[in-house]
């Protein structure tokens, strides 16, 4: 596979919970360095699609490829576990509710996985923690426990934790949805910084302005389908589909 194309490739993804199909034949290609936003009403399958990429919610049909390797390939249980753990090292994920480890300090949150999985020394780990926390502007909280951080600080810590594994791809699932409005910007700034560094990112978001300003491409999902996709200036300013327009009226209503 060539270096720039189809860094992430989703082919005919399907997902059902019992009789309910929540992803209906979705295909998506993301090039290296691209930033893709996924928007859509609640329950449309955005999280399910995002979580299929690192197999947190395994698909019931279709394929996910990352950098030329199939993520959800068929293997005996043990081998599959090994394979998926390795794949996940390359895919950082940021959750709506942070999911920081409350029994570990900020430093330990950031260094636990690299220490465990890459066998780095304590000195290297400290250096890594400092580097990552400086990057997200949280160096002064390095020895705090998560309970003493604000929401914005928690999410920046979670981003630093994901980045410490040096991922090739970052997934964000409504990273700012649980934050007080005045704390959203500090997290957005960190994500913008990543964008400038050409990190490949797939971002599920409700913030249309943010999506428009950092993303190369926007996907609008509804009821398990990708209804519309294209560059933000087209999807936001000139949507083809009525469902997209209806959704945007609700979410951009004030600015339009």
């Amino acid at each position: 596979m060539s270096d720039t194309q189809n860094f992430v490739e989703i082919r005919n993804a399907r997902k059902s919970y019992g009789y309910i199909e929540v992803l209906k034949d979705i295909s998506l290609n993301v090039e290296r360095g691209q930033i893709v936003a996924i928007i859509g009403p609640s329950g449309s399958g955005k999280s399910t699609l995002l979580r299929a990429i690192n197999d947190l919610d395994p698909l019931t049909g279709g394929e996910v490829w990352l950098d030329g390797v199939q993520v959800n390939k068929t293997l005996p249980h043990r081998q599959y576990e090994k394979h998926i753990n390795q794949m996940r090292e390359h895919v950082g994920m940021v959750f709506q509710h942070f999911n920081l480890f409350p029994h570990l300090t900020v430093r330990e949150n950031v260094t636990m996985a690299p220490r465990l999985l890459k066998g780095i020394s304590k000195e290297e780990a400290d250096q890594l923690a400092e580097e990552q926390l400086r990057h997200v502007g949280l160096l002064d909280r390095i020895d705090y426990y998560p309970s003493r951080l604000s929401g914005g600080q928690k999410q920046r810590c979670a981003i630093a934790r994901a980045l410490a594994m040096k991922p090739k791809l970052m997934l964000f699932d409504e990273a700012t949805s649980a934050l007080d409005p005045e704390l959203v910007e500090e997290v957005n700034l960190v994500m913008k910084k990543l964008a400038e560094e050409h990190m490949t990112m797939i971002i599920v978001t409700h913030e249309m302005d943010f999506a428009a300003s950092v993303c190369d491409r926007v996907l609008f999902m509804d009821q398990g389908y990708v209804v519309e996709e294209g560059p933000p200036e087209v999807v936001f300013k000139n949507p083809k589909e009525e469902r997209t327009r209806a959704f945007l009226r609700k979410h951009l209503g004030a600015n339009k």
Partner: protein, 215 residues
């Protein structure tokens, strides 16, 4: 009330209290081991292990501890299990409390938010690593208090082994009634000693709980 008798006789009760403490400590250890195994079984990926774990818990909790003790001590020899009374007491009570501890431990583990495991797995940790490094340290903190409740019940439960003639606090009280004809004083004496043991244990549990609590 005959205080003089109580003062004269209490050293014998102290010796019996030591036996009760030994029983309690050994039973706690065995109970924790059974609880850990039961929990591992109940949370296993394999249905047959889950079934074994569930059967263990429901059989033990569904029958009186006294019957379990009698079955082991009196019935055991019939199927080739020869135990002295103390051994039967420890094993019987340990396996019994282990079932309750299984539920305590399992409860604390499943109380940990699923997002914790997800975050750990997303970083590349294996199922076991995520459990070991993320879920367990949090669950252990949660389970200290409820395990303390189990241990409290277990200490009082050691009185049951009087029924198979282990010379602990309850049996000792009964024995001295035979010679003193003072059941009130005798049971009061053992009751007081149980209270001391339980009080000290309770303090220990609270201390442990406070020490590891997440702020």
């Amino acid at each position: 009330m005959d205080f003089e008798l109580m003062l004269r006789i209490y050293p014998f009760f102290l010796k019996a209290a030591v036996v009760t403490i030994e029983l309690s400590v050994l039973t706690t250890i065995l109970g924790l081991v059974c609880g850990a195994l039961g929990t591992a079984a109940r949370l296993s990926r394999h249905w047959y292990l889950r079934a074994i774990g569930a059967a263990y818990v429901s059989v033990i909790r569904g029958t009186p501890a006294l019957i379990q003790l009698f079955l082991l001590y009196f019935g055991g020899p019939q199927i080739g299990i020869q135990l002295d009374a103390f051994e039967a007491g420890v094993i019987g009570l340990g396996v019994n409390i282990g079932a309750y501890m299984t539920e305590t431990m399992r409860g604390s583990i499943i109380a940990i938010d699923k997002g914790q495991t997800e975050a750990a797995r997303t970083l590349g940790l294996s199922r076991f690593q995520a459990f070991r490094k993320v879920v367990l340290p949090q669950a252990l903190r949660l389970m200290i208090r409820p395990l303390g409740v189990n241990i409290n019940a277990l200490i009082k439960g050691t009185a049951l082994v009087a029924a198979i003639s282990v010379v602990e606090l309850t049996y000792t009280a009964q024995r001295y009634i035979g010679s003193t004809y003072k059941p009130f004083e005798m049971f009061l004496l053992s009751g007081l000693l149980y209270m001391v043991i339980i009080y000290v244990t309770g303090k220990g549990i609270s201390y442990l709980d406070r020490k590891v609590r997440l702020t």
